[in-house]
């Protein structure tokens, strides 16, 4: 799988970017020690002028590079946690609906419908405004708008597996239906869900950036969206303050799509053979 991926140039570029991002996120405290929200120098130093502060400083004299490094940590955390919550909740609901059938299925799917007709961003906005902006709340808020995809996919998979021979034989041996659902059927429903998970991670990172841009992110951590919003006040004099964190966002999301798409292609190619 890795070797097949390494043959694709776009997967190599995306993979390298993604590894770099995760490494920066994991090593942020070592790469840029100290509080990234602390004052590091004179305010509004332009990029590439001061060797100690390579990307310059913002209106309050905070290092832009330190913000970028610690912001990577926030984005990676949000992307991973939101996707995990969305996939876990979606698969639980989808498997339950598909396995139970009847009224339970009908009821659960109407709830899925309800979540799908409400714009996820508005739902996240409402949830954060109620629960308060902490990193975990933001991650859950974003997952609220993302779990319906995994739910539909796993339900469809479960419906097609429900009557399979191995499920029938598990029933005959007296296995509890919940155990059959969790241990026999759910693992097989995982691959289609994982195939869309890269899209969920990328979407979560973009949604978090938009929430932070509107001032609804966690105020105690650095976020790229927050940095963009902060730089907006100097758009006429120091546009780089908003442009640089945005470029980091674009690079992150592109790398996730590139890797996700390449993995999808490789998996599709295998199935065809």
């Amino acid at each position: 799988m890795i070797r097949e991926l390494a043959r694709r140039p776009e997967a190599r570029v995306g993979g390298a970017l993604l590894l770099l991002l995760v490494a920066v996120a994991a090593l942020a405290p070592a790469l840029s020690p100290g509080d990234p929200l602390a004052i590091a120098g004179r305010p509004l130093i332009p990029p590439l002028t001061d060797p100690a502060l390579p990307l310059g400083t913002d209106r309050l004299g905070r290092s832009l590079l330190a913000g970028l490094i610690h912001g990577a940590r926030t984005s990676v955390t949000i992307g991973v946690v939101s996707a995990l919550v969305a996939v876990a909740v979606g698969m639980a609901v989808g498997t339950a609906a598909g396995f139970a059938g009847g009224l339970v299925d009908e009821g659960l799917m109407r709830v899925v419908d309800a979540f799908q007709i409400v714009p996820g961003f508005l739902l996240a906005l409402a949830f954060v405004s109620v629960a308060g902006p902490s990193l975990l709340v933001v991650a859950v808020a974003i997952a609220l708008g993302a779990w319906t995809g995994p739910a539909r996919l796993s339900r469809a998979r479960v419906l097609s597996l429900r009557e399979a021979d191995f499920v029938a034989s598990a029933r005959v041996t007296g296995m509890h239906p919940v155990e059959i659902a969790v241990r026999q059927v759910m693992p097989l429903a995982l691959p289609p869900v994982l195939a869309v998970s890269s899209v969920i991670v990328a979407g979560a990172i973009l949604t978090e950036a938009a929430l932070s841009f509107l001032g609804l992110g966690d105020p105690n951590v650095v976020t790229w969206g927050g940095m963009i919003a902060e730089g907006r006040n100097q758009l006429r004099s120091a546009a780089w303050l908003s442009i640089i964190p945005g470029l980091a966002l674009v690079a992150t999301v592109v790398s996730i799509y590139l890797v996700g798409e390449a993995v999808g292609d490789v998996l599709a190619g295998r199935r065809r053979r």
Binding site: R110, V111, D113, A114, Q116, I117, V118, P119, G120, F121, L122, L123, L125, A126, F127, S129, V130, A202, L206, A209, A210, F213, L214, L216, G225, I228, R232, L235, R236, A239, S242, I243, G246, L249, V250, V253, V254, Y257, L258, E261
Partner: protein, 330 residues
């Protein structure tokens, strides 16, 4: 057309329970917040005594139990009354009616632009999969698809409004310009160029990718091969055979993206200072105005339902096999 009317009615009736789930869910979510609109209002007027707070709560019905307020809200909604905004001190229905046209213009233009150019570029890219132009367009669309719309909006504003000064930075029209008729329409259009570009780009990229994928799939089908064998030129096959069939998933995508576009308009309207429907959501959060936020969410949900209904009707018209639930492939 009684059959069409029946279909529309059936779909609308089916969406009532789903909308009910939305109302009850959002109501309970917003109700669990600490502090209400009266608190926010008192802060904004510089505080007041307990008696004033009591009186205001009684006036807005905030002193009753959760269930009583939920039933009250449902009754109001059933009569078509969206309630009273505490933050704006106006009926919510009137505020939304005033704000919605700006947002509909923004979203409608962005959708039209993204659909037209996305599908055209998708045909160009998908005509010869793997060619240089296909690689350029596919790579470019992946980049554009990854750009956060609010950041794109800021960059466009810096370049075209601040540096080049071709277009206005913000607002929906020049304040107190006194322009009417066509002059006013041109003014509004000038204000909408950048927001529409910022909101529409991501969908342009998406439509391009979906169209290209549909074209690639069509090239593997027998009917394109047969057309080529009959000696039909490759552009004709691309346009009349492949693109026609690739269009259907694109139309479906329009409905699927309706909800995400409303979310996008919230941020774009904030970037460009457009007094629209999306920005109401942000104002409601800032003003702790739960009834206003709920109304915005509910109206959005209704718009998504309507968009999907329209898309289904369009699909039925484009592809007669999708015979309104009867016959066909189903």
């Amino acid at each position: 057309m009684p059959r069409l009317a029946r279909l529309v009615l059936r779909r609308l009736a089916g969406s009532v329970p789903v909308l009910l789930i939305v109302v009850v869910g959002v109501f309970l979510l917003l109700d669990s917040a600490g502090g209400d609109a009266v608190d926010a209002y008192l802060v904004s007027i510089g505080g007041g005594d307990a008696a004033l707070a009591e009186e205001l709560r009684a006036r807005y019905g905030l002193d009753r139990s959760v269930l009583a307020r939920l039933l009250l809200t449902l009754g109001q909604l059933a009569r078509g009354d969206l309630g009273w905004s505490v933050a704006l001190n106006r009926p919510i229905g009137a505020v939304i009616a005033e704000r919605l046209p700006n947002t509909l213009w923004l979203m409608g233009s962005a959708t039209a632009l993204a659909f037209a150019s996305g599908s055209a570029l998708g045909i160009v890219a998908g005509r010869r999969p793997g060619s240089a132009i296909d690689r350029l367009l596919s790579g470019g669309s992946l980049m554009l698809y990854s750009v956060p719309s609010f950041w794109l909006g800021l960059v466009l504003a810096v370049v075209f409004a601040v540096r080049l000064q071709w277009l206005p930075v913000s607002g929906i029209e020049t304040i107190a310009s006194g322009a009417t008729g066509l002059a006013r329409a041109a003014d509004v259009a000038r204000h909408l160029v950048l927001p529409v570009a910022a909101l529409g780009t991501i969908y342009l990229a998406l439509f391009l990718r979906v169209m290209r994928a549909g074209m690639v799939e069509a090239w593997g089908q027998d009917y394109t091969l047969a057309a080529r064998a009959r000696g039909v030129s490759s552009w004709r096959v691309a346009l009349n055979h492949a693109a026609r069939n690739a269009l259907l998933p694109l139309v479906t995508m329009l409905g699927l993206q309706a909800a995400s576009m409303i979310g996008g308009s919230v941020v774009i309207e904030s970037v460009f200072g457009i007094p629209g429907f999306g920005r109401l959501a942000q104002e409601a959060v800032a003003g702790r105005d739960a009834p206003l936020l709920m109304a915005v969410i509910l109206v959005s949900a209704v718009m998504v339902v309507a968009a999907n209904l329209a898309v289904d009707l369009a699909c039925g018209w484009l592809d007669p096999r999708i015979g309104s639930g009867r016959g066909g492939r189903g």
